[in-house]
């Protein structure tokens, strides 16, 4: 009895409060979120606080091991590895998030359109199947190899490759989101509130923005989180294969690639960027896991 009265006394909370409460119970997700925010802040603010420039060459202090002055050591030109890892992280994170955003936008658009309009469903889903059948890694390598020169010429070497990489990764990774969203939209369409909305003459655009999008937000958010992880791995893989940003422009994959040349002499140099990639991806994956549970109303409150 007391329980009920307590429940009634509680101020009403928004839906997001309950999501947060559920998210908090997932230990891994919480730790993942902290690690991710820490890395994010580190790569955003770190370079301002850190006294060394990522590109500053100091040939006299080259090839040093970890010390107080250089916690991650220096590379063969005496550049501080910590500074390079932080700057590289900025690029990797920026690529990961922008690519995820593009993939999400495309995936949601195609998913909603396919689920909502019967006549578009067939053709859009065939398109999704076709994209799923493309060998993505080889194609990405080819696309980047071919269009690098053209885009570098018009947007500068860094901007061009950034645009190229982000759009290439985005265009090749929207398919899962589209499929999930389409499935959800299809099941939403049969629900009573949709029939009710239609019966009072709601227009299609309003149906989508008002009734469909808020209801498919949870799967979109989960695939957004996991999309960051995939995009970061893809970017690093491309940079590792030598098809990413220009050599003096550090990203995590690039740093790892450069370090493999000195694996025999300075094995620890390869650990840092690799560790950062793995930690970021691991924390993002845990966050996605927790978010999936938190957004699922069937699990909530357990």
């Amino acid at each position: 009895m007391t329980d009920t009265s307590l429940e009634l006394d509680k101020p009403s909370r928004s839906q997001w409060w309950y999501v947060w409460v559920q998210f908090r119970t997932h230990k891994g997700a919480l730790v993942g979120a902290f690690v991710f925010i820490f890395i994010l802040l580190g790569v955003l603010i770190g370079p301002w606080l850190w006294p060394y420039e990522a590109t500053a060459i100091d040939i006299r202090s080259r090839n040093q091991g970890p010390s107080w002055a250089h916690p991650m050591g220096t590379d063969q030109l005496g550049r501080d590895t910590l500074a390079r890892v932080m700057i590289g992280g900025r690029v990797s994170m920026a690529v990961g998030m922008t690519a995820m955003f593009i993939a999400l936008l495309l995936g949601t658009l195609i998913g909603v359109l396919a689920g909502f309009f019967q006549w578009l469903d067939g053709i859009l889903m065939r398109l999704t199947d076709l994209f799923l059948a493309l060998p993505l890694l080889p194609l990405l390598l080819v696309i980047i190899m071919l269009f690098r020169e053209t885009l570098s010429a018009s947007f500068g070497p860094e901007g061009g490759i950034f645009i190229l990489m982000v759009s290439a990764i985005g265009i090749t990774s929207w398919m899962q989101t589209a499929r999930i969203v389409r499935g959800d939209v299809l099941s939403l369409k049969e629900r009573e509130f949709m029939v009710a909305a239609r019966s009072i003459g709601t227009r299609n655009s309003r149906m989508m923005s008002r009734h469909i999008l808020p209801n498919v937000l949870s799967p979109i958010m989960v695939s957004a989180t996991l999309g960051i992880a995939t995009a970061i791995i893809t970017e690093s893989a491309l940079s590792f294969l030598g098809l990413g940003f220009p050599p003096d422009f550090p990203t995590w994959g690039r740093l790892l690639r450069d370090a493999t040349d000195f694996l025999q002499q300075y094995p620890e140099r390869a650990i840092w960027p690799g560790l950062m990639i793995s930690l970021t991806v691991l924390s993002v994956n845990y966050m996605g896991d927790g978010l999936r549970d938190a957004l699922d109303p069937r699990i909530r409150g357990r």
Binding site: G28, D129, L132, P135, P138, L243, L256, Q264, S278
Partner: protein
């Protein structure tokens, strides 16, 4: 089921044609000149002749259909000729020639195929053999220490990309451990090595450990999670309770009733994962310097070797389409509840 399979097989043809066209177009848009790497002493008119002989000056549709004909009509016949010693009259036809090496593309691919298949295949088998027992046991003892540890390790396996796990094991087993130690492993995969006796077999085994384990870690992470989820779905079913109630031993319940039913989706996931593992092998081959298909692709891309890139990418696409089909058909064959007709 048979009609379904045939229908799907027919449907793969337009899919493959579309994909081949996309790949062809993307690669053909490349500004790279096939004669760019030739010596500068070659006069321009000879250069033009070379271009003509490579067929670069023809309209793009002609080039596309020529490529299709070479890939689907000429190369299978050459393959049959070579394997059975028949004469199908292919001697006078022009084969698809690599720009970089001037030898037939398919010959190079057949040359590289065994290394990739050997490493990738072993890794896949090893990964599955590790994953399925882990999946079964974690589901059976859900939330136990073993299950929690398994979840964590597979999360790590998902998250650590092969280009880092590969570098990491090289650092540990090839750099930090002294060369004369028993635990030292070679970091470079020697494909010229032939297994003739026990010693050479041991060497082959040792050099395969690292690439295989790096690839297998990823496979294990995915498949063990999937096997666990699938086992959990089945463990709470009514038929399991019935089996227990009628006195089937626990071992029989889990290993016969539950396992067989839960392996149905796992088998399809295994089939679906095969093309993906070839993609992953591109990176692993680069890390361990295996001269397989992945390395061939990277070299071809860097050298602007258009026919090679087209053919290899298309072969990867065929693998994906083929194994999607295999997975769907297997699902229908194994699970009588699934009927496509």
């Amino acid at each position: 089921m048979l009609t379904y399979t045939i229908r799907r097989l027919i449907l793969t043809i337009p899919t493959l044609i579309f994909i081949s066209f996309v790949i062809f177009l993307i690669v053909k848009l490349s500004p790279s000149d096939p004669t760019a790497n030739l010596p500068l002493t070659i006069p321009p008119e000879v250069r033009e002749k070379i271009r003509e002989s490579l067929g670069v000056n023809q309209p793009i549709t002609v080039q596309y259909f020529l490529w299709l004909k070479q890939f689907f009509w000429l190369e299978p016949r050459i393959f049959l000729e070579n394997s059975f010693g028949w004469d199908l009259g292919t001697a006078n036809e022009t084969r698809l020639i690599s720009y970089a090496t001037r030898s037939p593309v398919m010959d190079l691919i057949w040359e590289r195929m065994p290394q990739t298949l050997w490493v990738v295949g072993t890794a896949y088998v090893v990964g599955i053999l590790i994953a399925i027992p882990i999946g079964i046991y974690s589901a059976y003892r859900q939330y136990s220490f073993f299950d929690q540890a398994g979840t964590f390790i597979s999360m790590v396996g998902f998250s650590v990309p092969p280009f880092f796990s590969g570098v990491l094991v090289i650092v540990v087993f090839s750099v930090l451990i002294p060369t004369d130690s028993f635990w030292w492993l070679p970091s470079i995969y020697d494909t010229t090595h032939r297994v003739t006796d026990w010693e050479s077999f041991k060497f082959q085994f040792r050099q395969m450990i690292m690439p295989v384990m790096v690839l297998a870690l990823q496979i294990t992470a995915q498949i063990s999670r999937f096997a666990r989820a699938s086992m959990l779905d089945n463990l709470n079913q009514d038929y399991v309770r019935t089996a227990r109630a009628k006195g089937v031993r626990e071992r029989g319940v889990v290993m016969k009733h539950v396992l067989r039913n839960s392996m149905i989706p796992v088998v399809t996931v295994i089939a679906l994962g095969i093309p993906g593992i070839f993609g992953g092998a591109i990176i692993t081959e680069q890390v361990f310097k295996v001269n397989g298909l992945g390395q061939l692709l990277i070299i071809a891309i860097q050298g602007g070797d258009v026919p090679m890139v087209q053919t290899l990418t298309f072969i990867f696409a065929i693998l994906i389409v083929l194994f999607n089909l295999v997975a769907d058909v297997l699902y229908g064959l194994l699970d009588p509840r699934i009927r496509y007709d």
